[in-house]
Amino acid sequence: MRRGQALRVGLILASPIIVYFVAFFIYPLYTLFQNAFTSASGAISLDNFRTMLSDPLLSVSLSNTAYYFVGSVALEYGIGFAVAVLLYNYTGRLRSIFRTAIFIPLMVSPVVIGLMWLMILNTNYGPLDYMLSFFGAGGINWLGSQSLAMPSLILANTWEYSPFVFLIIYAGLQTVPQQLYEAASVDGLTRFQTFRMITLPSIRPSIVVAFLLNSIGVLKGFDLIYVLTNGGPGYSTYILSFYTYVVGFSFFQPHYAAAIALLFLAIIGTFIFLMLRFTAVEDYLGLKKGKGE
């Protein structure tokens, strides 16, 4: 097929997504900029960005987002990774049952996850408080305390998202060629040395992808906060996604909300850019060139 003809076929097949791209990406993006750079009266101004500099709620939301992000990703990554290694080393018959059980939280709708933890974390009638009371740690108001609300959210989010890290790392572990392990045992490497020198380098793609997708998933989060704490108590669980919504639809300041959304987009964009720049993450996402060529 000639190049010109190939391009024409390609463009015809891609025409729906081109329409989509203009209507669902460029136009909303334009609307976002248009709102962010105008004041409520419609005049072009930088007021929204000036407001951001002196908005105490925004700085609270930003530091809460950092807390939520670091806490969630650290726990989810650590637990997901550890469980994956445990299951990989187990060779018995229960393997697929364990795998399915750990997969299940990924399929539960986030609103329902919020409901579950609302009941579990309840101080008076929840099972967690009852169990903790045997260790003398009962009577804690998990969701109602300024200092514990965020850790509670992180706990619920870890239940939801650590299986995701598990899934990626576990799949990665299964792709390590068995010969490498045989060679390692011939060379007399200890278990730990084998893990550090054979396993870890082999699953580098999974390690990077799990980090990227886990991070994006945590930053996107909204439902759990809305259901479990609704930002409270006080402003202790306001994170960026929740604050954008509140400014737009509780404070009814769409222009300012658009400016915050742009800041949010810039943060996500920078994060993705850095990941693409410093890791080969896109090659790991199932689009390696050459296979179909």
Binding site: L13, S109, M116, K220, T244, G286
Partner: protein, 299 residues
């Protein structure tokens, strides 16, 4: 003597399999932690109100009641005085998720993914699609509200369907690009020699060969539409007249009203909400791993 021999044998077995035994114990505990919230929700939905609010909490109820399921349906009905039917939230959610999923998968994603893999290979376009799958809903929630209001589709099925297409289309495109990329070119070349046009090759040959990808895209897109909350909160905010209200939206308003009271009913409603996606997810587990991880896991 004999006893000692048996004991020695046991110790030898334990030495050999000790790690495996330990792993079974630890993994069982891990799975118990992951399954406990679901167990707790199911058990709560089967308790009477006095059993729900008891201290110590009842972990293994001796009797079960199904009244929460009827009651929850009634409360839902009371919240949603619509003419659509007895379960409008389920119907709304199903229609919105199905239409958005079909349109984004077959009309937008499949031809686009094929074009991007076979005809317009550009790493920049691929990156753009990838980026679009990662934009948080909160970023576009204000512009989408403004746009949907402008075309007078607030509180309608169509308004929410359009907005849901916005995130399911790039996701399905990226997913299907990976699958089309795995189709050997020789198959298509053979079809070309047989005299099929490029469109016929796409529709009759390649599309059929990526059926697992299509299934994964359909299910995952359905699940994300079914579960979505933020856009639903904003686009279909008004319960009266309820033109369109999805299940998560109903559940959240139910939670806000009944947070401290009808836990049994809430748990039952939660089970209604999660059951369809849970069944689909477990059933299609193998297909979904690749999709959930944007193609990094080949299931």
């Amino acid at each position: 003597m004999k006893g000692l021999k048996v004991l020695k044998g046991e110790i030898g077995w334990l030495k050999k399999n000790g790690l495996q035994v330990l792993l079974v114990v630890v993994l069982t505990l891990v799975c118990a932690v992951y399954l406990f919230p679901i167990y707790w929700t199911v058990v709560t939905s089967l308790k009477t109100n006095s059993e729900v609010f008891s201290r110590p909490p009842i972990f293994f109820p001796s009797s079960f009641t199904l009244s929460n399921f009827y009651t929850s349906a009634d409360v839902f009905r009371a919240v949603s005085q619509t003419a659509v039917g007895s379960v409008p939230w389920m119907i709304d959610s199903t229609i919105i998720a199905v239409v958005a999923t079909l349109v984004s998968t077959f009309l937008i994603a499949a031809p686009a993914a094929y074009a991007l893999v076979r005809y317009i290979r550009s790493s920049w376009l691929a990156r753009l699609i990838l980026f679009m799958t990662m934009i948080p809903e909160a970023v576009f929630v204000v512009p989408f509200f403004i746009i949907v209001a402008k075309i007078s589709l607030l509180n309608t099925w169509w308004g929410l369907i359009l907005v849901y297409i916005s995130f399911s289309a790039p996701f399905s495109t990226w997913l299907l690009m990976g699958f089309f990329n795995d189709v050997p070119k020789s198959v298509e070349e053979a079809a070309q020699i047989d005299g099929l046009s490029p469109y016929q090759i796409f529709y009759r040959i390649s599309l059929r060969l990526v059926t697992p990808g299509i299934i994964a895209a359909l299910i995952l897109s359905f699940i994300s539409c079914w579960n979505e909350l933020l856009y639903a909160l904003v686009i279909t905010y008004s319960p009266f007249p309820a033109g369109a209200q999805t299940v998560p939206l109903f559940l959240t308003s139910f939670i806000i009203v009944e947070k401290s009271f009808a836990w049994g009913g809430l748990a039952a409603a939660g089970i209604f909400t999660m059951l369809p996606t849970l069944i689909m997810g477990i059933y299609a587990q193998r297909y979904l791993a690749r999709g959930l991880t944007l193609g990094s896991v080949k299931g």
